[in-house]
Subunit: 248 residues, 2 copies
Amino acid sequence: MLKKERQAFILHNVNLHNRILVGDLSEEISVSEDTIRRDLQELSEDGKLIKVHGGALSKSFHNSFNASSIYAMDSKKMIAKKASSLIKDGMFVLTSGGTTIIEMAKALPENLQATFITGSVPAAFEYLKHPNIEIILIGDKLSKSSQITVGGEAISKIKQIRADICFLGINALHVKHGLTDNDWEVVQVKKAMMESSEKTVLLTISEKINTIQRIRICDTKAIDVLITELNADDEQLDSFKKIGLKII
Amino acid sequence: MLKKERQAFILHNVNLHNRILVGDLSEEISVSEDTIRRDLQELSEDGKLIKVHGGALSKSFHNSFNASSIYAMDSKKMIAKKASSLIKDGMFVLTSGGTTIIEMAKALPENLQATFITGSVPAAFEYLKHPNIEIILIGDKLSKSSQITVGGEAISKIKQIRADICFLGINALHVKHGLTDNDWEVVQVKKAMMESSEKTVLLTISEKINTIQRIRICDTKAIDVLITELNADDEQLDSFKKIGLKII
DNA sequence: ATAAAACTTGCATATAACTGCACTACTATG
DNA sequence: CATAGTAGTGCAGTTATATGCAAGTTTTAT
């Protein structure tokens, strides 16, 4: 096999599988690992792939991150739009923190007149920009990692409320294992919020669906509405639809 | 699994779930915790995430540090610097809102370890960026105009506190007419803050000195320290010095 | 205050990469 | 045609990297 052929083969494979190992190639093509290494080095110098210790990665691998985070941004905007359609004038709305919730806060219609109750500093910051929204801030210790207030005081305040609707940005949702999270204190707050609301709406990008985290918040059935960036009839959501969740 | 792949996986997960644990990752990827730690360290050095004890946090949430410190040393920055010199490790600090207070929040030394109590959303937002500061948020109705929480609930919470020092950003200060403001609700909060602190420190640009507003907060004598952008021996401040205020 | 968990450091090992060299096959040129 | 030149490949020895393990320290939680 000629050098050019070999390199074409390598390139084809790295783009196909996103990654390859020096050892595998050496075996497949029946040349020494040194030769493969030299090939990879050349291809890498030509910018055709990314060489790493032990093998190589396809060029799109690295870019895929940026692309996906922009994609996630778009998704969140989409979710935000759907979510804000559920809020009617005069409602009492409980919201958690999280990037998705903040996106929703940004996407709220300007003329919306409602009362928002939250323990999230960045969310409150966004609500402040809306002239017709009344904001009730929940006080207590502010958690650095989640940027919402947590603790007994916060929970007891939440329990004094009867809200119409509660929007939760979430971490992991699984058909069988329900809603889970990884921060004990945040879990307590979310539980309290759900209890204090007529209706619970989850906002999440589809990637988080059918993942699991350490601490359980509630069963899937305890949720009323699920909002993702997907179409309501996407098959990924079928299992949720089956057990009675409303999908938007 | 190649190192780069692993790190990409980690990064993806931390951005998805906001927070990850070393142990979980180690289990999921089937490498030792040491390796995960090394990966997290590298990613953290590249600024891709924030490493914390036990795991890592997503950067997208934790708004990174603001580098705009040394330049633009305008009046408020000067005041901020003077003010932060009064705060010692371990103190309980009550702060109001207002632009001067927010400037102070930005100017706090990075290694300062103290507890800050505030009802101001933008101030809390700044405190969140400081790794060693504990924040207690005062809950209640959020006032649009002042961006701090106001109301009976807020005041009763403030009264439960005994702080070492209280920083107030102010609206008007006059030798004879004392400290005045134009928002009734904010005045109540400030009064409560002063009562709950050992020491009251006012932050203001000199323009506001010897101006008067509608509602009275307290007498000039009730104030302990006055901080302006002026030199402590500036003649504009003489009358305050005479009645016993400490000028910085 | 104490125990558990997480971290640091140094070290050992395995694998990967690099270097220089020898061998081969093909090319170019008088 | 002979032969010097050149590119490609593999090999041996050396160096670098990645990872796990163990001992000791720090941090966190109870």
